[in-house]
Symmetry: D4
Subunit: 216 residues, 8 copies
């Protein structure tokens, strides 16, 4: 497993990451890490790699787009001095174009998405030991669905940046595709976005596999 | 993994099992399975064995002793027609002797514990394809601590019954001992009983290892 | 418009009909008719046909299947002595098969659906001046989507029964298809089932057109 | 229908307009548009003119008089850059003179009303493609009732300004008079001011007829 | 003042009497007598006739018609063994005909009103030292208003029964007419039914004048 | 009655005056005047002198001493431009010496009380048409009780200032003494300070008698 | 100290005893014993006589009179099989005569008080190892105060019964008199009945002194 | 007893001291002193030394370490001008090292603890008549337990400073050890830190014995 003992892992993103984490910084006792994949990653690391004493910090915020991340990047990422950083952003950037089409000022189109995410990655990569870039996803099996298709395009941006900056790349959409033959989307998420705990475990597993986690 | 496709797994116990599950029966959407090891077991089975479509049902109830289980065994276990059944009980049987010593009528002493648990196991084993018996536990590293010592004695009863009835035996105390060198008890549970999510993952992993689960 | 002066129109269904209506019977001041298509039908009749003094009663109940309707048919339909009756049921009959696949005892398969709905229609048709049968719907534009495809099959059952009993038939799925070219489903309903007010207006309009409502 | 595709329609007013809209700006998912005529206008436009993708924004505020509108005109109207603007104000300007007669400093007499409304209209008319002026109303059938009589005088001011500035004029009092022969006022509004959904549909219909809406 | 020392005065009616009184019987400390005219009557008797130690009991219930009174007459009047009894009922009997016209089964027409009230008065008059019959009222100055006109007819029934049975008659409508030249109805009651404290004082004064109360 | 038509009467004091009045200024609909003697004064004036249209404003604040009044005198009295002003203060000035004896910094001793009250009266008397000074009180019949005795001394200060400035003097203690032969103190006020509605009526009557109110 | 190791002490009474204890039986963790003298007695016994493991059970109930105790004596005293029993009752028996004089049916006059208390004591004394009878009290220093005087008379009844049955007698009124020279009553209890923690400590100390408690 | 009449005793600390005290300063009626040892100290002084009229002020704050005390020392200690001062701090300084080991920035190591506490004591000792230093504690009987061992080291620092500055030293750990042979830790405190009322009485008694309190 790639994270060394006493590493600090900061995970940033939107409501999928947030899941009710503590404010202003998501760490500590109780449900400070929220109830999603971040808490599962922490619990699985804490169980299998207890001796490494990894410190996991959740700074996801519901409703965020990459534009929102940019505004709080200094306080919520840089100032926390992470050893490892994971970013999963883009769902709201796409979703707002489909569920609130009349309000273009809150849409983050793909060019702005790529430029902003590149800026954040470029600024942060030199400061950390490891960077993990996770794609946004949409729990919709039909690749012709317009929102799914757009989400895939944003996912390709993430992949491109991971290659460009030498980051670990996690394809969360692909992780969901492995289980989607067995679940109708509504089983995992009524709105095809906010997963139940099984869906969060799919995300946690994809992340952990990316950093060389072993269950045994 | 031992559970066949479309099996129903019913998990019964006390507050460690309960964790806020839905009433009257803990299954369905949202947090119907609670927020503890049962939900983690379900999520891990759902992620790694999606094609098996295992049905997990949580019928844990906070504050229960084996005496409480006996009273609701028909409606909460037999009537649900489980294919697999897991039982983790005994913490309150012991704890009340230590935190409410003045009220002996609510203490379940070890003889009553053994007799009642045996009766429940004997009645249920023939009805299920698989039975899992999990010990109670106490997140206290010092084996001379009187409550820990007593909990260990109850754990031996569980082990004896597992052998006697050919059930799968899960030693949860031992599972915690693997991580306790790295955690002070208060990190995992302020009261040394109700674990945080890492503690619940320890339980889920112990259970899953017992039924032949593979992460890969 | 078909409803005569002082007619009583009883509308039954599931959460789409319910929308927070008053208990035990949904009529009276305030939001007694709920916040969905029933209230819109009432308001449009009340505006355009004020002189007819139509009495609208909402007896929808969230989560209901046709099996639930059967259990409360006497008290919630027959006893109210409707002049006109509308039924829109079936969404949960189908949905539970897709979002809670592990619990078959709560699924209402198409044969039971048809038999039960026929029984209710047969029993009620002779008692009313007019009967309106509305299909269930799923706000999903892709007809190959498995839940949409199944919902369409249930809709055909409704159509068959409407023909069989001489009831007015409302194809709500078709009504949504007229607007779906302009909306991504998430705009109308995050879960593709519970519509926003525009979606409810689509339903109200379909119903009113079916009973000869004139907008001018 | 006069509004072109992708127009933004901003509707301002008092509690009749507000109806629980979102803050600071009333638009988005859920009940962001409130539960009154604004939401009905939006739903009817969205159903019958789905392809036009009209953007409706509710900036009504409970208790407002024209004096209140003046104070927030820049942020709540001008800054939103509406293509179309509707104004319905004056009920509280009159009502406070009748239900709180002892507090003259909160009364907006007719001269101030006319002067202020003219200033707002003059400032805004050049900035929009279309302006709709709706009269205040009082759901009281007796024109000799002193509050009704005063409300009618304020309504005449609105009419005069509509003519003066070439705005679309909506006589809401007249719209209510069409249905009042069939309803005792208390049926539509206990306080003769805040209508039930039928009363809001009367308002929505009056507005929509004014902008050339076609119901078929 | 007619009530002798240590008399018990029971006051029954609808929401105007109720005003949040204690359950099941409205008497005792705090706001047990509610916040309406009953509490004012009690306070004025307690201030001016402290030595008489009059016991006032409020058994008004919101929404009641004379039909409701009939159902609880034994427990809420007879069983309390009043020395004096006051009845003010009829507002809802009339109001429901005007604000919920579509639901005739909850209307209490004037014949039923008179028959039922006569039965209650006949049954109770012999059991008490004094009986006070108060008319219902409607705070509407226009006697041609249809609801006001109907309320007046019910008031005449009360007057007729007072004469018939030798009860003290209180014309609450007339009491309001004395102040209505100075108040627009909305000042006293937004819905013209539930008065503010001034309106309740009008009622209390009318009642007290009827029983020979002296302020000095 | 001394107050002329359209006079504004501002009443200031402590919790006895406050009684839950609206903030920041206690006037308007509903319970804006609180539930104590101020509301009763308003209701009695409104009933008996409806044509005078007196405006009553409650600016009492719970817990206030004369020191508190001094701090808010400009905004809560002067700025309101009262025609008539009533002041009832001193209970907390005394009470804190008896129920919180250890905290001398919150005690307002009699010298400070007199000096501060004189300053306020001197500053305000020239600005109003009428000034009413009400004593503080303690519903304790035993004049030797030390808190009662002290309260009486503060009452004498009020009387002295009334004479000095030609204000109307209301002896509330004396008003209570008229009824105390008939009530044990706990009937009127559990803590002998906060009266029930009868106690507030005693206060209202004393005030009204002071300004020449006639009940008939 | 008279209570032997592992004794169960049941304490019954009114709100002074209750103080928010757990239901149905006041014992266990947290504030199960309430926040009054019972909890203090338990804490002091637990601190100074830890080795005796005394079990304290609180079955006080707010508002109770001796008449209330009689109705629940079997379930709340006899069935609990106390070794020691304390009774403190009578405050409400007296208080209701003074704060709710108009409702004689809830007054428990001294004859009924004595007869009922004697019956309870006679029935229970043979069943327990020790019985403690505590007087009711009133935190009023003036013995001529009528409620204080009456409370004293009830206290004499308790004393008489203590002598008659050989019970330990605790004069709580006398205990308060020792501190009253230093406190104005309002410091200890705003209503002279419900004490602050100092007042409860006075009660606890009086009780403990009566059973031979040693503070060192 | 060392505290002279009318002394002010200020008690500062963490959640053990706080226990829900009033803000900003913990003194006054009701539960202003919280529900812990401070309130017990006040009640026992008030009962046994009523004539001294000691003023007790609670300024404990949950979660505080000595670092937190330093930040609020001026406002919460110096400005209150105590005659006597007690300090019990250090539990959170140690606990965070054991229950939140991953967050070193919130740990207060022993060197910082000693330096900061010395600074506070040095600054305050000259200003007061008496200073009481209480050790932190951990209700764990096993002295080899690592958190207990560390807590003992912090306790030695307190002892050292007490000697150095001539303060009264209270060994709370030792006080608990006297009762621990009779209680399993979970009886006194589920988390071995926050005591029940018996545990608080142990603390109160230790404190009072330190200042020469006599129980008789």
């Amino acid at each position: 497993m790639l994270l060394e003992a006493k590493s600090r892992l900061v995970m940033i993103g939107d409501s999928i990451t947030d899941c009710g984490r503590a404010r202003p910084i998501g760490e500590g006792r109780g449900e400070a890490l929220g109830k999603g994949y971040v808490a599962l990653v922490d619990a699985l690391l804490g169980t299998m790699y207890a001796s490494r004493e990894i410190r996991v910090t959740n700074v996801g915020s519901s409703g965020n787009t990459v534009r929102s991340l940019q505004q709080r990047w200094q306080t919520d990422v840089i100032d926390l001095k992470p050893d490892w950083l994971s970013i999963m952003i883009g769902i709201n950037d796409v979703w707002r174009q489909f569920d609130m089409p009349a309000q273009p000022e809150i849409h983050v189109r793909i060019d702005e998405y790529e430029a902003t995410l590149r800026e954040l990655v470029a600024k942060s990569k030199p400061l950390v030991k490891g960077l993990v870039l996770m794609t946004p996803f949409y729990i919709e099996p039909n690749p012709q669905d317009p929102m799914r298709a757009e989400m895939d395009r944003y996912g390709r941006v993430v992949e491109k940046l991971a290659v460009e900056f030498g980051a670990i790349f996690i394809d969360t959409q692909k992780a969901f595709e492995e289980v989607l033959p067995h679940y109708y989307p509504a089983t995992l998420a009524w709105d095809r976005v906010h997963p139940n705990m099984t869906g969060h475990m799919v995300l946690a597993r994809a992340f952990l596999n990316g950093i060389g986690f072993s269950w045994n």
